[in-house]
Every structure is written in C-alpha cells, then in structure tokens.
C-alpha cells in the first residue's frame, strides 16, 4: 500500500454502494449512496447550536464534536440506508479543503473503515462535492459552468467534460457567505446571519444603492471586502447625522450588489465558454434572491440551470459520494496514507 494511486478496473454493470464522510467544517455527515446517484441515506449532524455561543465556528471545538458524533452518525447512516456493512464497496471522504483538525477526524474514520471492511478509499475534494451534488438531482451536460457560493468559497468553475475542473474565477478576499455573515453582524443579527440578511433584503421596500465590484473587465474574480466596508460606512454616516440606519434598505443594497456581480459574471462565463448548463451550488445557493435572479438570467440566455435542494447545498456527505463516484468509476483510489489537506487544488483533483 505504498503507491499514491491504485488503478483497477471496476465492472460497470454491477450495483455498488459508496459510504461517504464529510467533516470539513462544523457538520458531521455520513451518507450511503448507491450507483453514485441514489441517496440511500444522508445524515447530517450540525454543530451550529454549539458554535452560536462563540459567534462563529471554533476549530478546536468543531474537532471535538466530530469525535463525539462520528460513529453515531456512521451507524445512523448505515441503518437508515438499510444496507449491511459488508455491502459497502468503497469509502469516500472529504480530504480537503477545510479546517484541518475537523478534516482529520473524518479522514481517520474513513481510513479505519476502509481497512476494517477491506475496501478502497477515495479522498474527495469538497468543492467537487458541492458541484456534483447536482448529479444527484439531474444529468449534467458539458461544458457546464458551476457557480460555487458558500461560507468558505466563491468560485466560477468550468467543467469542459465530466470530472475536469477549471477554476476561471475566485474571490480575492471574503467568500460570499463570509461577507453575508460580516454584514449580518453589523446589522446586529446573531451568527450565522446570512439567512437573516436574505430575508430582510426580500422584505425591504427601499434600497441603499451600494457599489458593484466588477474588477478588471475580463476578470471572473470577485472581491467583497469593499462592499462590506461600504455597508459599515453607511451605518456610521447615518449615526453621525443622528439618524437610525435603515437596516432593511442596507440589506437590500448589499444583497443586490452581491447578486448583480455574482450572477452577472456567471452568465458571462456561460456565454464565453458556450456552457450548455449552469450549476448553482454551495450553502449560499439557499439564498432566495440569488436563486431567483440566476434563474431568470439563465432562462433569458437559454442555459438550463440546476440547483440542488437546500439539504444538498449545505455541507453534506451525499455530495461527497457523488463526486467520489467520478473516481470510483475510473478506479482511481487513494492510499491509506492519504493526508487531510486544509488547502487543496480542485483542478489537480480532476479525473
């Protein structure tokens, strides 16, 4: 077991079962997926109540919680799926990117299972998971553009073919979800505040128009730190004048700016690369404003759009199985010496 990569041929006409583990941040999740697409179980244990007290995710506590729940969640997922452990054909796990101490727990549990059951291990990229969550709900047509928006990531990914990832745009500072949480804090919402901002923006009747950060004309990159500062400056300006800042108008202004830029760039990428499909994914895909705008832009451009349901957008293990399936079908397995990676290249993870 010294080779970095073992390649074997897997018969494709037989049913197979992947058990996947995801512990990259504050969710402990285990899923059992048949034939890469049929979700038999997808158990998610969120630590959000624990981290709320601290106003954000505390890495050391996240790791401790993963250890506490790991085998419980594995057992629940297996039981709910109604499979025998002996029927599991491979173990998939989020290898990175993420919080290193959190990833380690999942990686060690996955390796232990792979050894105990004597089945292959598939180290999986978290973002590939978010993207391939779409494969659990529909057929992906290539080339496709994936817009990945989450607490830790904001990326536009081009998939020229199945399992071939090319990042064409990424955030230069905060991720969208991060910007939402920071603005939420300024608007006095408790952690995690993203959904509150979305709701407030939806209900707003006024809008404080805020700048759009388009960067260089040909760039697909993002920057949200200036926008966040603009929100804070606006709050200060009102207070200096002895006025009460209009939080809902600000939430709307912030949300409109984010949506304009994010969807605008995604659509431009779809046109430039001749995408036959748009994939929206990541935790922020739950944002109603974003879903609605992207839907109408895609319709206008004639590009079909896939958006997984919320449970498959936020961190979950079924999406990890869906991405690991790319490697399973090609017999590309990881060694038992695989390491968790806090930073990990999506492009290099391509099949």
């Amino acid at each position: 077991m010294t080779a970095e990569l073992r390649e074997t041929t897997i018969p494709s006409d037989k049913d197979y079962v992947l058990l996947a583990i995801e512990t990259s941040c504050d969710e402990t999740s285990v899923a059992v997926v048949r034939n890469g697409r049929e979700v038999l179980s997808n158990v998610i244990s969120s630590q959000i109540e624990t981290h709320k007290k601290f106003g954000g995710v505390v890495p050391e506590i996240a790791s401790r919680k993963h250890v506490e729940t790991m085998t419980i969640i594995i057992e629940e997922a297996v039981r709910e799926a109604g499979v025998n452990l002996a029927e599991v054909d491979a173990i998939a796990v989020t290898q990175g990117p993420g919080l290193i101490g959190a990833l380690l727990v999942g990686v060690v549990a996955a390796k232990s299972l792979a050894m105990a059951l004597d089945v292959p291990l598939i180290g999986t990229h978290h973002i590939a998971g978010h993207i391939y969550a779409n494969h659990l709900i529909g057929d992906i047509v290539y080339p496709a553009i994936a817009l990945v928006v989450s607490g830790g990531h904001t990326e536009i990914v081009l998939l020229e073919a199945e399992g071939k990832f090319r990042i064409i745009g990424r955030t230069r500072d905060d991720a969208v979800g991060e910007a939402y949480d920071k603005v939420a804090r300024a608007l006095k919402f408790p952690y995690p505040g993203g959904p509150h901002v979305d709701k407030l923006a939806q209900e707003a009747t006024e809008e404080v128009v805020l700048p759009r950060s388009w960067l260089e004309p040909d760039s697909y990159d993002f920057s949200f730190s200036g926008l966040k500062s603009a929100v804070l400056a606006e709050i200060n300006r009102s207070r200096m004048k002895g006025e009460t800042p209009d939080f809902s108008a600000l939430a709307r202004g912030f949300q409109q700016s984010v949506i304009d830029v994010v969807t605008g760039k995604a659509i431009r990428a779809a046109k430039e690369f001749g995408a036959r499909q748009m994939l929206l994914c990541g935790g922020v895909a739950a944002n109603r404003g974003l879903r609605e705008r992207l839907s109408s832009l895609c319709e206008e451009a004639g590009v079909p759009l896939l958006i997984p349901p919320n449970k498959l957008c936020t961190d979950n293990a079924a999406m990890i199985a869906a991405a690991a399936d790319l490697k399973w079908r090609r017999g590309q397995f990881s060694s038992l010496d695989m390491k968790a990676e806090a930073i990990m290249s999506l492009e290099e993870w391509s099949v």
């Binding site: 401790r64 085998t71 380690l104 060690v108 232990s112 050894m115 105990a116």
Partner: protein, 265 residues
C-alpha cells in the same frame, strides 16, 4: 490492581490491538496474555494521521492475524496533544464499531508510567517487596505545565494510581511530590518519567532533602496500553464506543473564556 502473570493465565487467551498517538511518537502493539507480541514505534511523521492505519494494518498482517483474532481494541485516551489523541481515539472507535469489538480506553499517562516501570524494574530489583516506587509520568503541556499523574509500584506486582490524570504546573507538582515522598517512609524511590528533558531543571529545584527525585526519559509504548487494557478486559470492563471521547483534561480555550465571561471574570 496487581499485574501478575497468574491473573493473566487464569481466563484463557486474550489478544489486544493497542495504539496511542498522544505524544510525538506513534505507537502500536499486539499484546497477548500479558506479553507484547509485536510493536511499532515511529517518529517519522509529525502527522500521525498519515501512517496510523497503514502501520496498524501492517502490524496485524505481519503477525498473521485477522480481525476475528482480536478480542479488543485498546487505545490511549490521552491526555496529550489534542489533535494527536483525537487521531487514535477516532481510529479506535471506528475500528471497534466496524469490527464489533470491545473498545477499551486507558490513560496514556498511566501507560507511559507502566512502560517506564517495566524498564526501570530490573535496576530497582534490590528494593524490599513492601516498599513502593512512585512513578510520575510527565508530558509537556507548555507554559511550565505538564500532563501528569502519580502511580505506586512494587516488586510483588502491585500497581495503583495515587493521583489521576491532570494538567499541573511542574514546579508546584514536583515540590508536592518531594514533600509527600519525604513524609512517607515506605516510598523507596521517586521517578519522573517520560518527556522530562524540558522539566529537569524544575524537578531538580524541588529537590530538598537529597537524591530522592530521579528522572528517566522514555517514550510511550503501546505495549503498556495493551497490557492495561487486557487487565480491564479480563475484569469484564469496556467502554461505550459511541460516547467514548479523549480525555483532554481541560476545556478548549474558547470554552474556558466563555465560562470565565459567564462568571463575570
């Protein structure tokens, strides 16, 4: 508790897979009937998570064993490096669950102490049977602190824990051990063992009355984890796989701060 061969021979063959990652060493062992059959200690990887499962697999295979030959999975529960302890504990929980084997956690400190005693015992052979030797395991916990405990051993196989696992200031702890050791006449020798290099000066400083405090640098060997676990196993004890967690001996920093804030400190 007595660590004697007789107790071990009484109730049939027991084979334990034991491992620990609470310190800079990764250690795994197969223990059968109180004997270390085979073991591995490695410092090669700073990151124990990389090699742990391959090493365990290799150890099991080169001894011609299969899962069905193992009676229990034993693991060092800490204290020690937070990340380190989590690695072995996660592996032990998952293996015990997947193989449906009893899980037995033992104190990594006690194992460090017992392993040291086994090495020191021949040198202390001239001690009378009714005299105690105190074994004080230490693992560095930064800022002058150590993870430590106190165990009393004797030549008739006696082994008991005097003070349980905790995080303590080495200067205060060594002074207290010195003081109490001076007062108790049946204590023949006191050994600070383990990660002592950083703490030698503090231990020497505590020395008031002569040469009673001695030091012995050594690493944790999973053989001692296996032995302690085998004894628990033979007494019918085991841990609950799902609720088993590392013994960190202290709150995470963020929790400690929150607690202090809630008390208005």
């Amino acid at each position: 508790m007595r660590i004697d061969e007789e107790l071990i021979d009484d109730s049939g063959t027991v084979t334990v897979l034991a491992f620990d990652t609470s310190t800079a060493a990764f250690s795994a062992a197969i223990v059968r009937n109180g004997e270390r059959v085979d073991s591995v200690v490695s410092f090669a990887e700073r990151n124990h998570s990389a090699r742990i499962i391959s090493e365990i697999k290799e150890l099991i295979e080169r001894n011609g064993l299969q899962a069905q030959d193992l009676d229990a999975i034993a693991v060092g529960q800490g204290p020690g490096s937070y990340t380190g302890v989590r690695i072995a504990v996660t592996a032990a929980k998952t293996l015990a669950w997947a193989w449906n084997k009893p899980l037995i956690g033992v104190s990594s400190l006690e194992a460090l102490a017992l392993g040291a005693w086994h090495e020191l015992r021949p040198e202390n052979e001239d001690l009378a049977d009714d005299l105690d030797v105190w074994i004080i395991p230490v693992m560095d916990a930064r800022r002058g602190q150590v993870y430590t405990s106190r165990h009393a051993a004797n030549h008739s196989g006696g082994w008991r824990t005097v003070d349980g696992d905790g995080i303590r200031l080495i200067a205060d702890w060594a002074a207290r051990i010195e003081d109490e050791g001076t007062q108790e006449s049946q204590v023949a020798a006191i050994w600070f063992v383990g990660d002592i290099e950083l703490h030698c000066a503090a231990i020497e400083q505590a020395e008031q009355s002569g040469t009673r405090l001695r030091t012995y640098a050594c690493n944790l060997n999973a053989g001692a984890i296996g032995l302690l676990a085998e004894l628990r196993f033979r007494q019918g004890e085991k841990d609950d796989v799902h609720s088993f967690v590392p013994n960190y001996t202290q709150l995470a920093e963020a929790e400690a701060k929150l607690l202090a804030a809630s008390r208005g400190e």
